[in-house]
Amino acid sequence: MTTENVLGGEAVVTTVDEAEGFFRRLLNKNETIQKTVNWGRQWSFFQYPFVTACCGMEYMATAGPRYDYARFGAELPRFSPRQADLLMVVGTIVHKQAPILRTVYEQMAEPKWVVSFGVCASSGGFYRNYATVQGIDTIIPVDVYIPGCPPRPEAVLDALMMLQNKIKGERRPLLPIVPA
């Protein structure tokens, strides 16, 4: 923080770096604040469902009243990646579609997590051919993989809880580190 002459008067000037550093120090020093932020993140997923195949049925079943992932705070699917922090890749991804998935991932704001839903997204599944991406982790980073063809809703809920546990122990800055 520096004092400068601005328009004839004295003013305190804060750079973006200093502002970020302030928040990061606050989080790093204070375990309680970090835990509180993590608690907020883990119970308020805003997912972006990238649904391409039959796994979408199980996704809908999980969203429905019987299994109801709203109990875990994942109440509202957002249909714009800019409003989402959890990317759910539900179904087979082919090479032709890979650029779209990469763009959607890059459009999401930090912090963001990715769930690979079903064997096709996780490894290509039985589509071991020229057309299919052999696991989406070759094009975007993945936090949790759900096996199954398609996975049962219980498996989806288990994955959601695993992701919550992962976020609970995370120590990431409140603001993302943006390269200048």
């Binding site: 032709k96 051919n129 991406v133 052999q134 696991g135 975007i140």
Partner: protein, 166 residues
């Protein structure tokens, strides 16, 4: 089962049919490619055959099984007569397989011929816009050919740092 359509075709173009069979109503004619467009027009417009509908058009790769290697199979259906016929057209040149397009007879063959070009590399002489329909333009080769390497991948997105395409 009667084989009205096949008999009519044999009666009209005996020199163009290489072989034919009709087991249990499954009427099939193997045709020489040269006059395919003319025969197709005849099969559609003749009152006895009147095949108004093109059910399907696909390619086949018979590498190591048969000579010549590539074949185009056309399935026709008559909505008024309610009978079917299957036409098989071998492509004479293995290196550069070409058959006449039937797009001026049945418009439905447009995307089907593009698909056969995309996946088998069979060219259709007379098609106005023969480019890939399913795969991306950057793709090289024709993946349903039997000599296309099974493990060959052609990703268009570079791998995420630390990962590799399998």
């Amino acid at each position: 089962m009667s084989k009205v359509a096949l008999d009519r075709l044999l009666e009209k173009y005996p020199g163009e049919v290489i072989s034919s069979h009709a087991d249990h109503g499954d009427e099939t004619a193997v045709l020489k490619p040269a006059k395919l467009a003319e025969i197709a027009l005849f099969l559609r417009d003749d009152p006895v055959t009147s095949f108004e509908m093109l059910s399907d058009l696909t390619g086949v790769d018979l590498l190591g099984l048969k000579e010549p290697r590539f074949e185009v199979v056309i399935h026709l259906y008559s909505l008024t007569k309610r009978h079917r016929i299957r036409l098989k057209v071998p492509c004479l040149d293995d290196e550069n397989p070409v058959v006449p397009s039937v797009i001026h007879v049945w418009k439905a063959s447009n995307w089907m011929e593009r698909e056969a070009w995309d996946l088998y590399g069979i060219k259709f002489d007379g098609h106005p816009d023969l480019r890939r329909v399913l795969l991306y333009p950057e793709f090289e080769g024709h993946p349903l050919r039997k000599d296309y390497p099974m493990e060959k991948r052609q990703p268009i997105v570079p791998p995420w740092p630390g990962r590799q395409h399998l």
